[in-house]
Each structure stands twice: as structure tokens, then as C-alpha cells.
Amino acid sequence: MEILHFDIAAPTSAGGTRAMALVGVVASGNLEVLVERSDAPDRCAIEISTAAHGFRDLWTAVAEDFVARRAAGGLRIAINDGGARPDTVSLRLAQGVRMIEEPEA
């Protein structure tokens, strides 16, 4: 497995009060995204564990684009990747920040 860490300055803080959100599953072409709160409202930390080695640049681009576009400040995000395409990763990340804004189920 390749483990990647990102800690990115976030222009917008996450909303909502929920402590945790989980979207997606680890399956071929899919991934799970676990979103938790951190103490730094202006940072977003992302940790990725992936079996597809050698895509650091792509993950960097996806992660930076995500933090720039979505309200991701104050979040700590852990990803288990089953070889998802960038479009699926982007969608799951977007779903994760939306989910943590929602009231508890």
C-alpha cells in the first residue's frame, strides 16, 4: 500500500456539528472517505491509503482542488482507496463534506 499525507490551507471552514461522516466503500474503482473534525479550522488534513502506487501528483491535484472548492477547513479526512478514478474521488470528497454538515441520522 502507498500512504500519502496532505495538509492543505483551507479557505473555507466546514459547517455542521456532526463529529464524523463516512461515505463510499472500498471496492474496485471505489473508495471510502472518513471525515472527522480537527482543531485547525483553516487546515484540511488528508491521509490516503491506496493500492495503486505512483499517483501522488494526481492525488495532490485532486486534494488541492477539493480543498479550494469545498468547505473543508477543520477536517481530518482518511481515505481507503480501491483504485478509484479521480472523478469518483472528487465526488466522494464532496459527498463527505456535505454529509458532515447534515444533522445526525
Partner: protein, 300 residues
């Protein structure tokens, strides 16, 4: 705005639990934030999942507290590994200890290949857990209608439950179609003939031969309603139960042992047009099945 019916087949483990239990009543044990992952998948450079493919916890159904477990059929085909299995074993032991019913949403291909020995023993531990809980008066209700079906050791665990609720999509068997085909040839079992696979292993056939108790639409609300009803039945597992099951299973061989296709069995049950069964909508089928089917009732 979305499709009003929520498909059980399509739903993930967490969505199934959310649909089953009363709102805001669920508390997960060893949730994903604990990251209690499989210690073995890294040997194969395979990705892990934070809940190891099973969600266990307690909640309430219609106000009554229950333990709930749901397998995630999309993660490694819902296969049972060490951690996955231990979560369910622990839940069943707790059920026995505090005399609380258990609902298990199955979705599994059986033992996880990469940790086969641990998974195999886990299945044995879970079966013991189910049976001991049931002998102590606990109901263990199994729900089957997921994409991975209920295969291998999963099928054996299901066979220990007090009530099984299935949808058409729910397949229950030991050996999977591809494995039979690989080992015995395509003449014995054509795994790509999907309608044959469902006819042989699917929810309708299992309902008709008494392998499952309640047939429901592929709808999370239908599963919930049937679960509530199953939790209202008297719990029992004793010598009489197994004597009745022995008689029931012997009778099945006597009655249908020569049949070569599910449709032969359905014909023997007295159904005029067995080939119409696969296309029948759930409600029509359930009514027809009530008239003709074999049932397990207390013989399970």
C-alpha cells in the same frame, strides 16, 4: 423526489441499518473511527476498510431494543475475515448474555480467502454464538437480499437463524456458481446463465422449498416490517425443533430428490406454470407461494 422505494439490494450496510431501526436509535460498537482494520490484507497489498466490512451495534425496532449487524457486500464481497467475524461473534455472545434479539443483514460470499483460516474458525464461532443465543431464548433474524447473496459459511450461519427473510435477489447457497462450474464443469452448472442461477439459489426458490420463511419486495421498508413481525414470534430452539427440522429436510429429499431443475420442484409443489414464477412481481408471488410452498415454521 427520488424513487420512493429504497432498494435493499442497492443499499449499503449502513443504509440498511438506518432503514431497519427507529430513527436516531442506533449506536455502533467499534465504529469506523476506531479503524479496527484487518491485520492480514496488507500481506497481499490489498486495501482495508475501517469497519472491516461489517457494522454491528444496538438500536430499537418499533421501540424494542435489538442488536443489529450488517455486512457490506461490496467490500471484498462481504467476506468474513478475523475482525469482521469477531465483531459478529461478540455481538451474539452479548445477545445471549443480556437476552436481546439479534438481526443480521447478510451480504457475503463466505470466508475471506486472504485470511481463510481465521475466517473459517470465525464462521464456526458465529454459528455456535447463534445457536447458544437461540437456546437461551434469543431470536436471531437473518435478512438476505444483497448483491453478494449469502454464500459459503454465510449460508451455514443463515441456516442457524430462527427466521430468514429474503427478497428475490437474495441467493442462499454454500458453493458459489463459478466455483461449481470451475470444479465440475459448465454442464453441471452454467454460472453465466443468470436466470438459472437465480432459479436455483434465489429468494423465490428458497421460499418455495422452505429454505426461507418470509418473502419480501426488494424494499428496505418491507424488510423492516417483516423483521418486526419476525421479532414478535415465539423464540425456540430445542430437541423438538431439530427433530422437526430433521423430518422436514428428510421429506424434502424424498419429495424433490429426483428433480433436476427448480421448475420441476415448483411443478411438484402443484404450481401450474412454474416458468412464470421468475417474472412474477413480489406481491403476486408471495400470495402464490403461501398456497403452495413448503414451510419451516418451527422446524428451523
Amino acid at each position: 423526489m427520488s424513487n420512493t422505494r429504497q432498494s435493499w439490494y442497492e443499499a449499503g450496510a449502513r443504509e440498511r441499518i438506518a432503514a431497519l431501526v427507529d430513527p436516531a436509535s442506533f449506536a455502533e460498537f467499534i465504529g469506523p473511527e476506531r479503524r479496527e482494520i484487518s491485520p492480514h490484507l496488507s500481506i497481499f497489498d490489498l486495501p482495508t476498510q475501517f469497519d472491516d466490512g461489517i457494522v454491528v451495534g444496538c438500536g430499537a425496532i418499533g421501540g424494542t431494543p435489538v442488536f443489529v449487524a450488517a455486512q457490506e457486500g461490496r467490500f471484498m464481497g462481504g467476506a468474513v475475515g478475523e475482525v469482521h467475524g469477531a465483531k459478529l461473534t461478540g455481538l451474539l455472545r452479548a445477545a445471549k448474555a443480556v437476552a436481546r434479539d439479534v438481526v443480521i443483514a447478510f451480504d457475503t460470499g463466505g470466508v475471506r480467502l486472504q485470511e481463510a483460516n481465521a475466517g473459517e474458525i470465525a464462521i464456526a464461532e458465529i454459528m455456535r454464538g447463534v445457536v447458544e443465543a437461540r437456546m437461551a431464548g434469543v431470536r436471531v433474524v437473518g435478512l438476505i437480499g444483497g448483491r453478494a447473496g449469502c454464500y459459503g459459511g454465510g449460508g451455514l450461519i443463515a441456516g442457524c437463524c430462527s427466521t430468514l427473510i429474503v427478497s428475490e435477489q437474495g441467493r442462499i447457497s454454500v458453493t458459489g456458481p463459478e466455483v461449481i462450474e470451475t470444479n465440475k464443469g459448465v454442464e453441471e452448472f452454467d454460472s453465466r446463465d443468470r436466470s438459472f442461477v437465480w432459479r436455483t439459489m434465489g429468494g423465490k426458490h428458497r421460499t418455495l422449498i422452505g429454505g426461507a420463511d418470509v418473502f419480501v419486495e426488494d424494499d428496505t421498508m418491507a424488510f423492516r416490517d417483516a423483521t418486526r413481525a419476525a421479532l414478535a414470534r415465539a423464540p425456540k430452539l430445542d430437541g423438538n425443533t431439530l427433530a422437526a427440522e430433521q423430518a422436514r429436510l428428510e421429506r424434502r429429499i424424498t419429495r424433490f430428490g429426483e428433480a433436476s431443475d427448480a421448475t420441476d420442484i415448483w411443478q411438484l409443489l402443484g404450481i401450474d406454470d412454474p416458468w412464470a414464477i421468475p417474472d412474477m412481481p413480489a406481491t403476486g408471488f408471495a400470495t402464490l407461494a403461501d398456497t403452495y410452498r413448503e414451510r419451516a415454521d418451527d422446524a428451523r
